[in-house]
Symmetry: C3
Subunit: 311 residues, 3 copies
Amino acid sequence: MKKALIASTALVLTAGIAAADVTISGYGRTAVDYQEDRGDGQEDTQISSRVRLNIHGTTSTDQGVDFGARYRIQWNQGDAGVDNVAPGQIYVTSNGLTVAVGNVGTAFDNAGLIYESEIGLISRSYGNAQGDFYAYSSTGYGDDNGDRLGVAVEYSVDALTARFSYVDPDQNTTDSTNEELGLSVDYQWNDIALSAAAVKNAAGTADADKYFVGAYYTMPGTDNGIGLNYIDEDSDADNYGTTIVLYGDYVVAPMTTVSAYVANNDADGNETDTAFGIGARYDLGGAYLAGSLERNYEENLRGDFGVRFDF
Amino acid sequence: MKKALIASTALVLTAGIAAADVTISGYGRTAVDYQEDRGDGQEDTQISSRVRLNIHGTTSTDQGVDFGARYRIQWNQGDAGVDNVAPGQIYVTSNGLTVAVGNVGTAFDNAGLIYESEIGLISRSYGNAQGDFYAYSSTGYGDDNGDRLGVAVEYSVDALTARFSYVDPDQNTTDSTNEELGLSVDYQWNDIALSAAAVKNAAGTADADKYFVGAYYTMPGTDNGIGLNYIDEDSDADNYGTTIVLYGDYVVAPMTTVSAYVANNDADGNETDTAFGIGARYDLGGAYLAGSLERNYEENLRGDFGVRFDF
Amino acid sequence: MKKALIASTALVLTAGIAAADVTISGYGRTAVDYQEDRGDGQEDTQISSRVRLNIHGTTSTDQGVDFGARYRIQWNQGDAGVDNVAPGQIYVTSNGLTVAVGNVGTAFDNAGLIYESEIGLISRSYGNAQGDFYAYSSTGYGDDNGDRLGVAVEYSVDALTARFSYVDPDQNTTDSTNEELGLSVDYQWNDIALSAAAVKNAAGTADADKYFVGAYYTMPGTDNGIGLNYIDEDSDADNYGTTIVLYGDYVVAPMTTVSAYVANNDADGNETDTAFGIGARYDLGGAYLAGSLERNYEENLRGDFGVRFDF
């Protein structure tokens, strides 16, 4: 409580301490996005763009504890504007331990290898998890989820990173049966990266439990590698089956990486159990061109080609 | 009007002069918030968080007049996202005189001592004013208040600060009976701070007139002090009664301040006329921990504990 | 695809490369705005304010190609808040050629002289185009226009700037009859600036075709000048007639410019075919004062006076 009334800045809002503690980063991307049989009356070929902005305010205490707050402003092609700045996140970090509150990244979504089979400019793969679970929300939660509360913990020491997350879909209600709990662990062992994760009541759906195990081997002295992911989404509450994806990356020329995957999903209702994709990426130094072609479980083709840059 | 068409940047938006003139500041906070008998089907104990971001663009003319514009982006726990960036404010400052237009801080809300009895991380006190008046709006005005217009003037000279504010709830209509007018004065006299304020048609309610007088005495050579606030909200248009609050701050150990208050409100319908609270704050240097316990006029307990940091 | 799991920042969002690549600029303005016979139950005299913020993230590749992304946050007096951050824009520039995707400036709207007869603080002229065409959207597109897609190309070489733009009101539908196409060219020849533009299916209205030709002559050795604009908005789909506006600027004293125009519009339904206006602007160095008086085609008076500053 400040008592000094001299030189009041009351009409003038709090000025803050130093702008140096606020950083803004993000990326822009735009691509041609083809989707065979996109839907009645919809163009199969469209432009897909995104602008993402992360605003990040930080401060450090005298004891070396770091505090931070985050916002994200994200626009996707098809949005009439940015309706909502994403809900805020607050975190504290010290000695490898990070605790975050609010709109947090979740343990399952942040598992180190869970999205590693993705290809193309838009970063997609049919070898990803098929169902839902909570993640950092880049836009608003939606009107029915205002009281969503997340808490996440991450601990990193040497080659190990462990994460725990808890998301209450509505912390205001006394009903507490559908809180999502997640856990993940990443470990680097020589040229092998290992990652495992589990989530209970995924996305607030009771008994929707999911499991993930993945490994990636980098060939010594190269950036080439091969990985395998196993994702189990077959529980009492959902029937997305089990997804296994084998994928790899190969540097075919300087700045040019080709990546590919083959995925198998055994859920009922698929036209075929096998999906696959191949993509290429060319690094411009500060930006990159990328494209991909994929066939999904309905045997429809999806492709993209475009450019992305980070700032 | 620029006439040069060479090197047009027409597709490219106005580039601005210097990023150095834009500062971003704010704070993050998160706390456990307990409210006895919060309401049917609602959790008494919740997490309450906030991320506030102030964006402030300024420029100075050759004559030494400073112009500025402000935005605020604020998220509170329970918001599904930031629906609205707060309405803008424009101001000009010169020689201690500031004039602001738009979403302005008001004279009554900005009176130097009016919130001085607040305690805890969330900065609350039952000794505050009980009813409504206009203030700087950290979020949108709400759909029914789009045409709200504020004008505020502040003048600071030596130990004196005086403020005047005018808020028209809807400047587009010809009806002008409910415009809020406010006035406040702060004065520092040796170890004594004095503050007084009045508001007419508070929050646009005809004849809702409110008055405030407060004083704070800082014990010489210390940061300890004691204060007394008197707030009269008993008019023809509202019946919040008169609130008197006695409060004090005591530095019990390095970095540690204990604050407490006893408040009396004589409005009809209170279970009891007396509310009180005690809080403590521990400074981390760049951040602080704070907590409080309060009992309200319905004899219900409220408590908080958490951390806040500014950036 | 990054494979390193050590020192994962998964809970912590992407940190970005350098804040130096993000610039924020904008302006604030506020004015008294008088409109004779504004409407039933509406005040003729109001305060009109605006705060505009441009957020601009850029990066350069090793080959010297520049990429950028933009957002705009704009509040106008009368908005209850900033409902929507404007849809994003992504662009790439190299050797004078710029290609932009998303919420783009259009060729017709960006024609170099099309708004040159504007006067006053709010920058208005009855000699402007009377009807609609697409332009960079400072706010959201509106709920019915989420799938709007724009592509714009600009090429500058020496004294010549050429622009092309394409806006699909809804790229998701297979209907493609109402896509707006625009073209404009600016050329500087000694003391004469020339500008021409055409737009087809303006604002997505089939057969709403518009044409513009303008010239501006700057008197040698001065900032005084005179211009003439011709705008044809008389097509099968709209009946805004033809607008001719003669305008000029004269530096009457240091820092002080007086501007005036006379406009003729031959559309049916006008009370009179002639509108005119006179304005003055006083440069403060970093900010300016400006005011204007205009009479429109209904013989009603409009006036403004206020201050604007850029940051």
